[in-house]
Amino acid sequence: MLSISKLAYNYMGMVNLVYKDFELQQNEKMVIIGGSGSGKTTLLHLLGGMMQLQTGEIQLNGTSFTGLSGHQMDQFRANHIGLVFQKPHLIGSLNVLENLMISQMFSSGKQSSAKAKELLETVDLAEKTNARISELSQGQAQRVALLRAVINEPDLILADEPTSSLDDDNAHAVLDLLIEQADKNNSILLITTHDQRVKERISNQYLL
């Protein structure tokens, strides 16, 4: 279960972002909708434990972010949260398989190239296993980035505008994959977006 209560964030006294409380059970999905500057990304970063909390509280499956040190938060993120960004941002010095395995390395689970290969198989990228990142199309790269986020079977998947730079076919493929993986792992899925294609698929909406 993911819950936020009385969450607010203040940028140097200038902008004050206040978030309505919400609560999501496992396997629930929600889109976060808001214009630019409305605090979508800030909310996502707070939920991902990538920014220090100022006021309010976030809890994921009984763990309160407030009580975690920086290092503990890193560990918690590695094991329980998967992040997807607008652009794939895969690591160019590593090949496709290694990009998946590096995510396993940071979590406390075992590294398994078999599991990484199996996931690649499900998105029809098996033949790209040892390919360089530069050889992938943008859609393929985004699918790999998505696999990277879910390979450790996270409780929470956070996706920041994952489809905005993709064409219709790829956008739908990525959405399918996100939903499919969230269902498979019983994860909570949160997507920030202003993309109509996403809103059509997920009815639960949180407006900023």
């Binding site: 990304t41 970063h45 991902g48 990538m50 920014m51 920086g70 290092h71 890193d74 560990q75 918690f76 993120r77 590695a78 094991n79 949260i81 992040l83 960004f85 607008q86 652009k87 941002h89 690591i91 160019g92 010095s93 590593l94 290694e98 395995m101 590096i102 995510s103 396993q104 390395m105 940071f106 979590s107 590294q111 990277r148």
Partner: protein
């Protein structure tokens, strides 16, 4: 996947730059090592050759020249000393042992040294073939002489006048090889050893013809040399190698020789130390140069890392998003630099030993007294690995700190 492998992937991603840095670092290290190895092996050769020799008494002249000539057999003699005076000196109570040295002839660039068996014993050298000389015109040759001139036991040769090849041959005096010495790693390897009498005879024969018919009762033996008593005042040798009888001798004997005789004393320990202090300046300069190269290499590693980290800010942020700790990123950058510097260190170690091998093979002439080997390893070389580590860490500390400080949220928001 692990930390080292991840760092390696980034290094492998810029092969030319890595190659340059490894090369640069390796060269700096190798210069320092070559100097270290050469001076160590040189010192080793010097001490081996002057072991057990307290003092050399020779004709008045430069003490350094006396040592170079009579111990290392490189320089020319300062002149001759009277046999009579040498005998008197050898009977001084401050002298424990005295060995005569008579130079003057050579054979194909190998010096012929007239001496006694005591000279061979000084270096604890053993014969591998044949036996010691017993009669005049018999010689024992060093290991390298046998190898390079391809002379065998019982071969005869004509000695040449002078210490370098090209002198007139003493054609009426054939010298027979009666023994070959084992390789001792000392000057003996390159020398032809014979009795003092043999050296004398080669010279007498073309000087005062026919004046060596002595009757048996006139013969005496002093310093291990057998000669006619009435020749005592005329005979000369090149030098006398002396072992002190005790610590008092070190204080009194050199002064006594210099002031009360026509001879000059020279201490091998003192002269080799002086020689090293002269060479030392040059070694220091080259060493300084090597440290400069290492500094430049460190700077180059630093710049490479710094530039690559600017492009990698997003990679680092992504790793943090995946749950990498700040400490991990810090170590990731340090390890990347360490791999380059340690590779450089190992590369330097290899070049250094290969260079020593090349120096031994191509630059040191056979007849010289230097012995160097590519396969001598010193404990000091371990320090090089340590230096590589330290340089690697210093070069990467600033980039590593900036990686440590990567602001996850800000970097990702920019993307």
């Amino acid at each position: 996947m692990n930390l080292a492998k991840l760092s390696w992937k980034y290094i492998a991603d810029r092969p030319l730059n890595t190659f340059l840095n490894v090369l640069l670092f390796g060269f700096g290290i190798s210069i320092i090592l070559v100097l270290l190895l050469l001076s160590d092996q040189m010192k080793d050769t010097l001490t081996k050759n002057s072991k057990g020799i307290s003092l050399v008494a020779a004709a008045k002249g430069s003490p350094l020249q006396i040592i170079l000539c009579n111990i290392f057999h490189i320089d020319f003699p300062t002149g001759n000393i009277a046999l009579k005076e040498a005998i008197e000196l050898s009977k001084n109570r401050l002298v424990k042992n005295a060995i005569p040295i008579a130079l003057g002839d050579s054979y194909k660039n190998h010096r012929i040294v007239g001496t006694t068996k005591a000279y061979i014993d000084l270096y604890e050298a053993q014969l591998i073939e044949g036996e010691m000389w017993a009669e005049s015109n018999e010689a024992v040759i060093g290991f390298n002489v046998a190898q390079s001139l391809e002379i065998k036991l019982n071969d005869g040769f004509y000695t040449e006048h002078g210490l370098q090849s090209g002198g007139a041959a003493h054609e009426d005096h054939e010298v027979k090889v009666v023994g070959v010495l084992e390789r001792s790693g000392t000057v003996l390897d390159n020398l032809i050893l014979t009795s003092v009498e043999t050296v004398w005879e080669a010279h007498e024969s073309h000087g005062e013809e026919g004046d060596h018919h002595h009757t048996e009762e006139e013969m005496i033996t002093e310093l291990g040399i057998r000669f006619a008593e009435h020749d005592l005042d005329e005979k000369e040798i090149t030098s006398l190698i002396i072992q002190y009888s005790g610590p008092m001798a070190a204080v009194r004997l050199p002064r006594m020789i210099n002031s009360q005789t026509n001879m000059q004393s020279a201490s091998p320990a003192f002269e080799t130390a002086r020689l090293f202090s002269l060479i030392g300046v040059g070694v220091e300069v080259v060493n300084g140069f090597a440290y400069l190269i290492i500094f430049i290499a460190a700077l180059s590693i630093f710049i490479a890392l710094y530039n690559s980290l600017k492009q990698r800010a997003y990679d680092l942020a992504i790793m943090r998003a995946m749950g990498a700790s700040r400490r991990f990123l810090f170590l990731h950058v340090i390890v990347e630099s360490l791999i380059v510097s340690v590779l450089g260190g190992i590369f330097g170690l290899l070049i250094a030993h290969a260079s020593i091998g090349a120096i031994d093979r191509f630059f040191i002439p056979q007849e010289s007294q230097m012995y160097v080997s590519a396969f001598v390893f010193l404990n000091d070389e371990l320090i090089v690995i340590g230096v590589s580590f330290v340089v690697g860490i210093i070069a990467s500390i600033i980039p590593a700190i900036s990686a440590y400080r990567t602001d996850l949220s800000k970097t990702l928001a920019k993307g």
